[in-house]
């Protein structure tokens, strides 16, 4: 033990160093808390939130070609796609597309597998509900969830 270390020990230098750090951070400028409902977090562009089924903005038709790839790719098998043949154009047209939020782990594999950029995981992350209707259907996914505005 050198003299310096004895002195440092006697005068609590090690403790004072720590105290200085905590003292410094008391400044209100250092506060990192995000007051969530008032302060909106910035969501990254690639955020994997609730899925959205994109529609062609010009025609309003769904981009989905009912290829079923997303349902096949899903590790939890929670997507179910049902299609029917359009009698006029003889094309396969999506009839129902349902999705179970309660089992989804937002891995993004369905998004990767979609050949037409129809299925996309959106930046919507607020889908807590007071009811147990976790299965979300096509209409709701096409319009997207309406962001909640919190009131007291």
């Amino acid at each position: 033990m050198s003299v310096a270390s004895v002195l440092r020990k006697t005068f609590f230098v090690d403790l004072v160093k720590g105290l200085a750090v905590t003292f410094k951070y008391q400044s209100p400028k250092e506060i990192y808390t995000e007051q969530y409902p008032l302060q909106r977090p910035t969501i990254a562009e690639r955020y994997r939130g609730l899925p959205r089924l994109n529609v062609n903005p010009d025609t309003g038709e769904s981009l989905c070609i009912a290829c079923d790839l997303c349902a096949l790719a899903c590790p939890e098998h929670l997507i179910s796609v049902k299609s029917e043949r359009d009698p006029k154009s003889k094309k396969k047209v999506i009839s129902t597309w349902t999705y179970d939020t309660s089992r989804c782990m937002f891995c993004g594999i369905c998004e990767d597998s979609c050949p037409t950029d129809c299925l996309e995981l959106s930046q919507d992350f607020e889908f807590a509900t007071y009811s147990r209707d976790f299965i979300i259907d096509r209409e709701r996914l096409e319009t997207g969830l309406v962001p909640k505005v919190y009131e007291r």
Binding site: S5, A71, L72, H77
Partner: protein
Amino acid sequence: MPEDTLGNSSAPETAAAQAADAKSSVGSQGEPPVQPAKPTGEEAPKPLAAPAAATAAAPGTGAPAPPAAVPSKTPAAPAKPAGPVPEPWNEPLPNDLMSRFGSAVREASTYLGQAYLVIDCAEAPEVLRVLRDECQFDYCVDLTAVHYPKREATQFDVVWILYSFTRNQRVRVKTQIKDGDTVPSVVGLWPTANWLERECYDMFGIQFAGHPDLRRILLPDGWKGFPLRKDYPITQQDTEWVRENLHIESGQ
């Protein structure tokens, strides 16, 4: 002083030597435990010999692919239709073992550059002891099993994955046992095998002879069935246990 304790790894070899001196099992050759990455017997796949273990695995394909996972189109062919095959592992180490244990070491091969030995279960403790004591495989990385219910004679592969710090080499030691056979425990050789063997017992029901405390580890005591066996479906649950202990009806 605390500042001195971690020399920021400026003197690594001395520290390694210290550790080696503490007990002779580390770095007894006097060389540092870590060599710069040299592909010692690894990373050199050359397709050659018949895949013994692999072919044994093939008939054991228990679970058929679910129909949902196979689209109507033919599945895309693998890039290399033949695939790499095991090749003989020609090095002093396996040759020594072969000559010493004779037919007990049934196979010494490398697959994709990874060496493995297939040995007789009866000789397993001795082979493993030699591997640890004489070949410096002082670190038991993992111990696990694979279930092949369709195989006629032996239903389980028990796999020890060993690593040697001095050789910087990994080897898998495999043995094949019948359902219900006991495997000699290696807890005496590597204390780390304790929990690994317990887990193996928990998941496969393989008995390890000489294990100090062979109980279930992840599943609760009294659970019925061994989940990682192929005849244990993924949704199966010991409903009786759940009802008795959790006082709920199983949600399956």
